[in-house]
């Protein structure tokens, strides 16, 4: 893990509120994290925990209204892109920050061939000629492992399988050599063998191209295999953050611990049934005044219901550098060999 590398992307105190007719929903509350060069940051949490909204807030992809990114800073190489004009932000999207979405079946435009869709950002951001963009598109399709690339440029999305379409999406996101790639549950809609292929592809591309990646998922198994660091989100805020090995080995937040318990185990004693976390993630009609997980937390006590815990480092490293957690409860030291 590239320790000490300078951050490509730094998010400080990000806040997003959806202002709807039936009231406000505080979807992102004071989220801070940093992404270092060449690092893969895994973002985990249940559906509705604010993972996707956070990432879409970064680059102004949420429709406004109702979404209102009302606070914080997003520093891309030190420049706050939340203060950028819509035009400047457009030049960041697709050029310096690439995005891969969850459902490759619907994320590509059905009426344009994939060549057209890959070449669009190249021509827009890099000002390439049609011929140059075509060459680059062939190169990109080969890079993401699509055989017979030149011919396939003329194919339409419906002529590709799901996995192939996701490869095309990745090719589009990588077209302009972005500094950051944000992948929003890119394997969720795919079946398991294809998931594995896409994961392998991303690992390989990361080594080849060296960009920083934010990988949003609710599948902890995926994260364990590829991430350097992990960010656990709940109720629109970061509840735990740290190097992936440390978080998996010594999870601090009851929510992280619960999430880890929900992974079915292949080894060891057979459990009666799969673990689940009881209850639903909250819908935040106001900025949380207490710990949002408290209603579902087995360890919650009075203070949890009165005060929202701030993130604090659990080791000597500065906040955000090492392992930190937002919880009043003190997790017991990990029991060795409890699970493989």
């Amino acid at each position: 893990m590239p320790d000490g590398a300078k951050p490509v992307l730094e998010v400080r105190g990000l806040k997003t509120v959806f202002r709807t007719r039936s009231g406000a929903v505080h979807a992102v509350n004071d989220v801070s994290f940093s992404l270092r060069e060449g690092e893969l940051l895994g973002v985990v949490g249940e559906s509705g925990s604010g993972k996707s909204v956070t990432m879409m807030s970064l680059i102004g992809l949420l429709p406004s209204p109702p979404a209102d990114v009302c606070g914080g800073q997003v520093l891309l190489r030190g420049v706050d892109i939340l203060k950028a004009t819509p035009d400047e932000l457009r030049r960041v999207r697709g050029a310096r920050i690439g995005f891969v979405f969850q459902d490759p079946m619907t994320s590509l435009n059905p009426v344009f061939n994939v060549g057209n869709q890959i070449m669009e950002p190249l021509r827009k951001h890099k000002g390439m000629s049609k011929a140059a963009a075509t060459e680059r598109a062939v190169e990109l399709l080969e890079l993401v492992g699509i055989p017979d690339a030149r011919r396939r440029l003329k194919s339409y999305p419906h002529q590709f399988s799901g996995g192939m379409r996701q490869r095309v999406m990745i090719a589009i996101a990588l077209a302009c050599d972005p500094e950051v790639l944000i992948a929003d549950e890119p394997t969720t809609a795919l079946d398991v063998t294809i998931q594995a292929q896409i994961l392998e592809l991303v690992k390989e591309l990361r080594q080849k191209l060296g960009m920083a990646i934010i990988w949003i998922t609710h599948d902890l198994g995926v994260i364990a295999g590829i991430a350097d660091r992990i960010l656990v989100m709940y109720g629109g805020q970061v509840v735990e953050q740290g190097p992936v090995r440390e978080v998996f080995h010594a999870p601090q937040h009851p929510y992280t611990r619960a999430l880890l318990r929900t992974i079915p185990k292949l080894h060891g004693a057979r459990e009666a049934r799969l673990e689940a976390i009881e209850g639903q993630p909250p819908i935040l009609t106001a900025a949380p005044a207490a710990c949002p997980f408290a209603p579902r937390c087995a360890h919650a006590f009075d203070r949890c219901r009165a005060e929202n815990p701030a993130r604090h480092s659990i080791d000597s490293r500065a906040l955000g550098e090492g392992h930190d957690v937002a919880c009043f409860w003190q997790a017991p030291a990990p029991q060795e060999a409890a699970h493989a």
């Binding site: 697709g94 050029a95 979405f101 994320s107 590509l108 435009n109 950002p121 827009k124």
Partner: protein
């Protein structure tokens, strides 16, 4: 695509045969006689002779077969002769109007230009107004523009043309005196002056029909754009850093136009058919007026021929809509 088109054209033949039979026999069974206009003082034997002269005394199935031969063989030959100056037809019998004793196709040739000028212009203007309104209304959903657009399209759609037509005549022709109340069919555009008069007399009927067409098409456009704006590929286009203009006018529009083009293509036969009501109100003696006139005097050959031509056009534009569908949407494969 070619195989598909050919297959569809072949399939159209039995469809049209069936339609022609239904039209012919239904019109024939209707009450009324071509003799009802003839004074009662004319003796019955003279009437019978008149009927025989028109061929109206023959049984209906004989007349049907004769009409088929005239429609599909004789008339096309006359058409070729008129076009190339040849003489294939060699005086073969044409479909003749019982009332005016003029070949029906000649009648249509006299009436069609008025209809096409007025209806065609109205349809074109309607489309040109409707598309931008529909697209912008959807893009700015619930804005004042959208609310105004939706209000006017609901109005335009629900208020019948015979009402708006008369209202416009009352206000702009009678009270203000800006436009003529009657369409002068004999007016030929030869210079700027006659062009101006043509434009003036077309203004009211074109406005009425264009508003009506625009109301319908803009509603479809708006609904279709709205549906597409929420699609994932729109988010992808934005994530690629495309401008809003590209997102809307390239990505969204191409997808949204698929159903709209169908509506436009299927609506086109009405251009040829002539908005019968509007032609009556503005006294345009187009094809619609010809049909109504023929119905009043039981001029069966005219009714049967014009109605059948409408049917042919509807079948034809259905096919065109399907072909356009395939061109716009690569997911639709016909082969």
């Amino acid at each position: 695509m070619l195989t598909f088109t050919l297959r569809r054209l072949l399939l159209a033949i039995p469809t049209l045969l069936l339609i022609s039979a239904v039209i012919f026999f239904m019109v024939d069974f209707a009450p009324g006689s071509p003799m009802s206009d003839i004074p009662l003082t004319v003796p019955p034997e003279v009437r019978a002779k008149m009927m025989a002269a028109m061929g109206a005394d023959k049984p209906v199935h004989i007349r049907y077969i004769l009409w088929m031969k005239q429609f599909f063989w004789n008339e096309p030959l006359y058409g070729i002769d008129a076009l190339l100056g040849t003489d294939f037809a060699q005086g073969a019998q044409r479909i003749i109007s019982w009332q005016s004793k003029v070949p029906v196709f000649q009648l249509i040739g006299e009436r069609l230009p008025q209809t096409l000028t007025v209806m065609g212009t109205a349809y074109l203007i309607g489309i040109l107004i409707a598309l931008p309104i529909g697209i912008y209304s959807a893009y700015r959903q619930y804005s004042w523009f959208d609310l105004a657009g939706t209000f006017f399209s609901t109005m335009g759609f629900s208020v019948p043309t015979f009402f708006t037509g008369n209202l416009l005549i009352l206000i702009f022709a009678v009270k203000m005196g800006w436009f003529p109340t009657i369409y002068d069919t004999n007016l030929r555009v030869t210079d700027w002056d006659s062009f101006y008069r043509m434009a003036m007399q077309m203004a009211l009927p074109v406005t009425v029909l264009a508003l009506f067409n625009a109301a319908e098409i803009s509603r479809y456009t708006r609904a279709s754009v709205l549906e597409n704006l929420n699609q994932d590929y729109v988010r992808t286009a934005r994530a690629k850093g495309m401008t809003e203009k590209t997102v809307l006018l390239k990505h969204v529009l191409r997808n949204s136009l698929i159903p709209v083009v169908t509506i436009i293509a299927l609506g086109l036969p009405t251009v040829f058919g002539g908005a019968i009501v509007t032609e009556q109100i503005f006294k345009i003696n187009g094809i619609g007026a010809a049909l109504i006139g023929a119905i009043h005097v039981s001029d069966l050959p005219v009714i049967q021929t014009i109605t059948f031509i409408f049917a042919v056009l509807i079948v034809l534009f259905n096919l065109i809509a399907d072909i356009l569908y395939g061109i716009l949407d690569p997911r639709i494969r016909y082969d």
